[in-house]
Structures are given as C-alpha cells and as structure tokens.
C-alpha cells in the first residue's frame, strides 16, 4: 500500500525534521539571504562566459539576458520574500507575500534560484568543456546563489495559520486578480518563448521550486480565495491574459507553438469530460479530432477533396464537423457503453485503428475515393470568418497579427468555450449524475439516474468538442492525413499523449489538462535530447503517477478522495465492515450475471 502521498503522514515528518540552524542566530540567516540574493542580482548584469557558444549569449556586461533573466527575477522575489522577516512586523507592504510565514517560501525560492542558476553554471562548464570558460560573473553568480540556501535553513520555522485576509474593496480585489494573472502571463510567455533547452530547463527548475514555495507560504491559497470570490473577474482576467499573449509576440515563431498547445489542450479538456467527469476510459479519442478535421477539410474546397466543388463557410464546416463527430461518438458508444468500462477502453482503441485504416483506404483504390488515402487532404484553404482572412496578416491595435496569430485568437475563443461548457456541465445536474455513476453506478441507477444515457451524453459531448477542435486544426495545418490520428506517436496530439495530459494534469479539473498539455508539448519541443525518449518517459510517468499521485498535478478534490479511498478508510474501523459487505455484493452481481446468461 502506498503511503507517500497520504497527507496524514507528512505532518509528523515535518515536525521531526532535523533543523540545521537550531540555535543559530536568525539574523545571520537573514543577512546571508540578503547578501546572496543581492550579489546574484548584481551578477546578472555581468557576463557569465566569454564565448557566445553557450546558447543565449551570456557574454554581455551591462544588462541581463537568457538564463540571467531567470536568476534576476528569482533574486528579486527572494529579496521581496525577505521583507516580512526583516523587521519586527515586516517591511511595510511586503507581508502579503507570505501569509503563513515566509521561511518556507524563502527556502523554496533560494532553492529555486540555486537550482536554476547552479544548473546554468554547471552547464557552461559541461557544454563548453571545463571551468576555463568561467569569468568573474560566473563565479559570483554560482557562489552567491548558495548563500541564501544556507541562510534560509538557518532561520527557524515560522509556519502558522494565516491571519484572515483584510477586507478590501471589490475594485482592489479585481485589480489584484488582474495584475497577478498578467504576471502569470509574463511567466508563461517566458517559458513558451524560451529559445533553447538550457533556458527552458532553468525556467522549469526555477518555476517548479518557486511555485512550491508560493503554495507553502499560503499565497496561493489566498489568491484562490480571491479568485473564488471574484469568479467572473478572474475568468475575464485569464481570458484577457490569454489574448494579450499574442500581442507580446513580435513574430509567428512562438504563436505557432501556442496554437498547437491550444489545440492539444482543447482536445485534452474534451477527453477530460469523458475520462475525468464520466469515468470512461477512451483510448481512441484522437479519432474524433480526425473526424472533425476530415469533415471540415472535405467541404472546405481543397483541390484534394472529392467534393472540391463544395465550399462551405467555416461556421457550416464547424457545425457539420461537430455533428459528424457526435454521430461517430454515439455510434461507438451506443453498443459498448452498456458493457463494463474495460470493454469500452478496448473498443475505443479498436475504433481509433478502424478510423485510421478507413481514412487510409478510402483512396479510390482500396475503397471509394473520398479522403485521398494516405496522401490526405492537403492544401486546405485558410479560414475565413466574416470576411476576415486568417491566412493574411492583419493589423490590430497597432500590432501585426500573422497567420498563426489569427488562429491563436480563434483557438483562445474555442478553448474558452470548451472551458465554459466543462465548468457549467460539471456543476449541474448532469455533472452530479456523472459523479454518482463514477462512484457507484448501481446506487445511481436506483436513484433514478439513467446511467447509460448519461454515459452516452458524456461520450457524445466529448466527441463533439474534439470534432470542433479538429475543424480548426485541419485549416491550421492545411494538411489532414490518417497518420496524424494514431494511438501513439512521437508528436502530440495522439490518444496516448492526450490520456497522459489528462492523467498527469489531473482528472476532472480544468487547469489540470491545460497544464498537462502545455508541459507535454513544451518539454519535447524545447528539449531536443528528450525527443527519442518521450514516449518511454510518458509511459513511465503514467505508471508512477498511478502509483504515487493518481489524482494528477492539479487534483480535483473528489478525485483525490476517490483514489485514496482505501488508504484513508483504513483509519476508520467501521469501513472494514463495509468493504467486506461490498465484496459480497460483488458476488451477487456475478450471480445476477449468470442469471442473465
């Protein structure tokens, strides 16, 4: 029985943890942090190596660049977090940063800085061949990021319950939400637009540790309380941030990456309705994306289409694409959803194969000419909506939006729609029915929930949303071929990646698949050396996640409870009885089964 993630065990562990600096003067610690961070901050304005061979050009003295930006940002954050601890009562205006005490935040931030900067320092020596490539700045940076780590561990724990947030006027809350979301945008933008793997690794190290620290300091909790109180404003803030991403880009180089992430994330969200909300394992989900893409492509007027003379406006293409996808979903779901879940998994896997093979065979040789076979539908024209040609650059608010920028805005709208549907349906009679079916289908049916109908609904809805994404994807890539829609391949989206995004991100949540999809897309995209091993690592990640953290990185509360049901149940004696009885009722189900046979 796994114990590592049960929350009950970490508390005593934390209490007995040996403290390095017991008895040491906290002032020394604070000084070390201040000194180290200030030095690290300063070092970013120096050059870190003398050759431009290291990616990001760290040879410039005068202003920071590349990985130095991460160090700069983390150093500022560390200094800021030192605020509440510095004076008795804290430096005015900085106490908000750590409602639950700043020491754990300081530790995480200093670790983040040490990991990220230290990684660069090591990488310079590693990639360029030895410490001969170090200059004064490198030594300063490398040494100064270690000091805060030492200092932070000299400080005594100050973990306490956060004081209740002061009542603040509504407008101020909204301003804070907007500012924080925009900060998040800047951080995300930095991550997406990192130009080379060293920068991306540094970013991930920094963001990972810093994120943990902010969570431990209670700032995240406070912020989520703020967003919970201002849900509409938060929604608009996130939307505005997502839209403004495209205005931060000077070219299409990273907008095209963002487009692919958005499509991947949209489909992952759709899959999360099926897997996360309704608890149905669909292993051929990418086929519905393909159904949408093919349908839209066939009536888009591409010369490769059999129906090249049929040119429908995009809204009609999207409608038909969604309708055909839903139909496909219902056709697959109808016979199999009556059976137990395992069968569904394998039948959907088979369906994915059937789809691919069929699209391949409808080439006029192995079957009627419809899809142009393996060559696929190519030359799909760019989208046009209300006279807006997505293929041409447009100037909006003084900023030139390229082809991918146009699609980006459309995709943001689509994913917003999917999130909207996801959230509303989950928080409704239907969402409750899905949860009930997931937890105990027999009981749910006895309470009047038509299990089959609601499973079919989830399946159809999921298929339709994937189909909608597909209609856009076809136009975006301008080529639709059968081998884009396989169970597993090295590039997303494919069914295995989609499932991984949902499982790693968090089943049943909105931000989980978004995070999962972004990471699964960015990691291989940014780290070239990772390409060959990504499927292996995703496979291992699925196994490890199921073992240690089956609820995903961003867990849904109910899901977490479900996955850890047995662990927590062990603490409650009476549960034993219930488990025993349940086992016996399984026996009954079998008898029932025989009766049917």
């Amino acid at each position: 029985m796994t114990t590592s993630s049960s929350t009950g065990l970490t508390a005593p562990g934390r209490a007995t943890r040996r403290r390095l600096g017991r008895g040491a003067d906290p002032l020394v610690g604070k000084c070390l942090i201040a000194l180290g961070s200030a030095a690290a901050l300063g070092s970013t304005f120096l050059s870190w190596t003398w050759t431009t061979a290291f990616p990001g050009d760290l040879t410039v003295t005068g202003y920071p660049g590349g990985n130095q930006l991460i160090t700069l940002f983390l150093s500022i954050l560390t200094l800021l977090a030192l605020g509440p601890a510095l004076l008795p009562g804290g430096v005015p205006g900085t106490r908000w940063i750590a409602p639950r005490g700043s020491v754990r935040l300081l530790r995480s931030l200093s670790l983040a800085n040490a990991a990220s900067t230290g990684y660069v320092v090591v990488a310079i020596a590693w990639e360029l061949g030895g410490v001969a490539n170090y200059v004064a700045g490198t030594w300063i940076a490398g040494a100064s990021v270690l000091l805060p780590v030492l200092g932070a561990w000299l400080l005594p724990e100050d973990d306490h319950e956060p004081a209740p947030a002061r009542p603040t006027p509504r407008w101020a809350q909204i301003v804070v939400v907007f500012v924080v979301v925009m900060l998040g945008l800047l951080v995300t933008d930095f991550g997406v637009t990192t130009g080379f793997s060293e920068e991306f690794i540094g970013f991930c190290l920094g963001a990972g540790f810093a994120g943990r620290g902010l969570a431990a300091s209670g700032l995240f909790d406070r912020f989520s309380a703020l967003t919970a109180a201002n849900r509409v404003a938060t929604g608009w803030a996130v939307f505005a941030a997502a839209v403004s991403f495209v205005f931060l880009q000077s070219s299409d180089a990273y907008t095209s990456v963002a487009d692919n992430i958005l499509i991947f994330a949209t489909v992952a969200l759709g899959l999360n309705i099926v897997v996360g909300l309704a608890g149905l394992l669909d292993l051929g989900y990418v086929a519905f994306l393909g159904v949408g893409a093919y349908t839209a492509a066939l009536v888009s007027g591409t010369a490769a289409s059999r129906y090249a003379h049929v040119v429908l406006p995009f809204w009609a293409q999207a409608l038909i694409g969604v309708a055909v996808s839903v139909l496909a979903g219902l056709l697959i779901g109808a016979p199999t959803l009556r059976l137990r879940g395992d069968y569904l998994a394998i039948v959907t896997l088979g369906f994915g194969e059937i789809f691919r093979i069929t699209m391949n065979n409808l080439d006029g040789q192995s079957g009627p000419q419809v899809t142009n076979g393996a060559e696929g539908e190519y030359g799909i024209p760019d989208l046009r909506l209300f006279g807006y040609d997505f293929g041409r650059p447009h100037t909006v608010l003084g900023h030139t939006l390229g082809r991918f920028g146009n699609y980006y805005l459309l995709l943001v709208l689509v994913i917003a729609l999917v999130i909207f549907i996801f959230a509303r349906v989950n928080d409704s009679r239907i969402g409750r029915a899905w949860a009930a079916i997931r937890e105990d289908e027999t009981a749910a049916e006895a309470m009047g929930v038509h299990g089959y109908r609601f499973k079919l609904l989830a399946f159809g809805l999921g298929a339709g949303l994937a189909g909608l994404a597909g209609t856009i994807q076809g136009h975006l890539t301008s080529t639709v071929t059968p081998d884009q829609y396989t169970f597993s391949s090295s590039a997303p989206p494919n069914s295995a990646f989609l499932l991984a995004a949902v499982v790693l991100g968090g089943m049943g949540t909105i931000s989980g698949p978004l995070l999962g999809a972004s990471l699964l897309f960015l990691i291989p995209d940014k780290l070239q050396f990772f390409h060959n091993k990504q499927l292996l690592l995703f496979g291992i990640a699925l196994i490890v996640m199921m073992r240690l953290r089956p609820e995903g990185l961003v867990p849904d509360k109910r899901r977490r409870l479900e996955f850890h049901e047995r662990e927590t149940a062990a603490e409650e004696a009476y549960e034993e009885l219930v488990v025993d009885e349940l086992d016996r009722s399984d026996g009954l189900d079998e008898l029932e089964a025989e009766a049917r046979a």
Binding site: M1, T2, G279, L281, L283, P335, T336, L339, R340, G341, D342, Y343, A345, I346, V347, L349, G350, F351, E353, I354, I357, T358, N361, S366, G367, D440, E441, T442, E445, F487, A496, L499, V503, M507, N532, K533, L535, L536, F538, G539, I540, A541, L542, I543, M546, R547, P550, E562, F563, E565, R566, D583, G587, D589, E590, E592, A593, E594, R596, A597
Partner: protein, 317 residues
C-alpha cells in the same frame, strides 16, 4: 474460386488463429483472476520474441545449430524473458493498485505498454550493431513446404499448430490436475473463500500472469518463424486481435480463448482472401482485414457479450 484455394485459406486461418489463441489465453487468465484487461500483454508477447531472438543472435553457437535444435533454446529464452517481464509488471505495477479504482490499473497497463515498446526500440542491439527501431530479421525454416493435395503447409505452420495443441493440452492438464491449477480455478471463482481455504491469491495471480506470458512467448516464436521478422511494435495489433479473440471466446474462459482465436483467424483470412479473389471486391481484401476483425469485436459485444463459451456476462458496474 477453387476448393484448393479455399482450403489454403482455411489452413492459413487456422494457423493465424492458433497464434491469436495462444496470446488470448494470457488475457483471459489474467482477467479471470483479477478482472484486469492487461493491455501490456501484447508487449509481453513482443518481449517473448525478442527473448528468443537474443538467444539465437547473442549466444555463440546457437545460430550455427540446425534450427530445430536451436528452437528449444530460443523458446526457453523467450519464455524466461516474457515471464520475467509479466511477473515483474504484476509485482511492481499492478499489485500495489489491487484495491484502487478500476481506471488506475488500466492506465498503468497503458503506460507499461508504451514503456516496454520504447525500451526495446531504444536499447535492443543486434550483434552487428543493428537496432530494433525497424523490424529485425528472425531465423526461419528453410526447405520446402509440405504439399497436401495442392494445399501448402509451411514448416512454421506445422510448428505453430503443434505448439498450440501441446500448450493447450498442457494448460488443460495444469488447470485440472495440479494443485496450483485447481487453486487457481478456486481463486478465480471466489478469491475470499479461496483465501479461507489456505490458498494465497497473490501467488495464484502471479501464476496466471506467468502462464499467460509463457504462452505468449510461444506465440511470438511462431510469429517470428512464420514471417521472418519481429518488431518492437508488433504487440499492439497482435494484442488487440488477441483481446478480440478472448472476448469472442468468452473472456475468462481458457478454452474459449483458443476457440475465439481460431474463429477470428478464420474470419480474417477467409473474409480478406475471398474478397481479394474476385475482381470486383479485390479492393476490400487485405487492406480492410483489421477493420473486419474490429467490426467482428463490436458485433460480438453487441450480440453476445458473454462470448461463444462465455460463462459470465459483463456486470453492471
């Protein structure tokens, strides 16, 4: 279409079906004991093939033996690798999840399947420095096929059929006559009572995984001998087909798995062979064979979800 051609198709179907059946037994046995569809079983089959190839390619001297003499060694290698992988997967991946919600072991199985494929593709090496990213050659029988009145029976076919028959007979003996076999049956029927009777269900589950893996290794050997090559991704489609066979025969039923395999093999060969034979339908032949197989699966689930020899039907949950 002459009778000879038809008989040849039947022969092909029987051989293909025997291979499906051998793999399907693994699905069925594991499902029978712990109600888990072991998605990674296709990869266990693939590992069996690579285990056998490793013995042939890497152990000095084996490649120089006549193939019939090398076969037992290769079989041993395949079985050892497949069983080790299956038992390892059970211990490390599935057992900790025995009480988890159903989705957890299923997702684990998919992860395992991806990982095992990639391990072979990334790190398997042939003596000459070749890798397994593309299909690799497998030794095969030389010599002419046996001609039975126009119906050709390949040496590999003969091996497949004999191996399948021996395996099934052995399995029947094992289940009916040995202590472990009977204990396994008991565990499958009622794990709680079996536990009360002093049977260790964990051991029985391991036995189910191991026996299934051993048979899959035999199947992998027949696959290699017949087509002259094996590849890291051959477990995916083979696993899907074998699962179809297991459902066809009635999942949980060992004899049903073999019957389902043979029915599926015959259906596949006859449908694509007959279609390929006539000019008007030739285009719907081999290219659609997999589609017909999956359509068959869906039809079976629709019309007779308990399978041909099924004893249990899907429960409601």
């Amino acid at each position: 279409m002459s009778v000879t051609v038809l008989l040849q198709l039947v022969e092909n179907g029987l051989v293909l079906g025997a291979m499906y059946g051998l793999i399907a037994v693994g699905y069925t046995m594991v499902y029978g004991t712990i109600q888990l569809i072991n998605f990674a079983h296709g990869e266990i089959f693939m590992l069996g093939g690579f285990g056998a190839l490793t013995v042939y390619a890497w152990i000095p001297g084996v490649a120089h033996l006549p193939l019939f003499a090398a076969l037992p060694l290769m079989l041993l290698g395949g079985v050892v690798v497949a069983v080790a992988a299956a038992v390892g997967a059970e211990r490390l991946a599935y057992r900790p999840l025995r009480t988890a919600p159903r989705l957890a072991p299923l997702i684990t199985a998919i992860g395992l399947s991806l990982a095992l494929q990639q391990v072979v593709s990334l790190w398997y090496r042939l003596p000459g420095g070749g890798n397994a990213k593309a299909p690799v050659a497998f030794p095969s029988f030389g010599g002419k096929a046996f001609d039975l009145g126009g119906v050709l029976v390949q040496r590999a076919d003969l091996f497949t059929v004999i191996a399948a028959a021996v395996c099934m007979a052995g399995l029947a003996w094992f289940v009916a006559r040995t202590r472990s076999g009977r204990a396994m049956q008991a565990t499958a029927q009622d794990p709680d009572t079996a536990r009360l009777m002093g049977i260790d269900p964990d051991r029985m589950i391991v036995v189910a995984f191991a026996v299934g893996a051993a048979l899959a290794a035999v199947a992998a050997l027949t696959q290699g001998l017949r087509y002259g090559q094996i590849s890291f991704d051959m477990g995916f489609v083979a696993g899907l087909k074998a699962f179809t066979a297991a459902v066809l025969g009635g999942i949980g039923n060992v004899r049903g798995a073999m019957l389902g395999g043979i029915v599926l093999g015959l259906a596949e060969e006859l449908s694509s062979g007959i279609l390929a034979h006539f000019r008007d339908t030739a285009q719907y032949g081999q290219a659609w064979a997999d589609v017909w197989a999956f359509v068959l699966l869906i039809l079976v689930l629709l019309l007779r979800p308990q399978g041909l020899l099924g004893e249990r039907v899907a429960d409601r949950a």
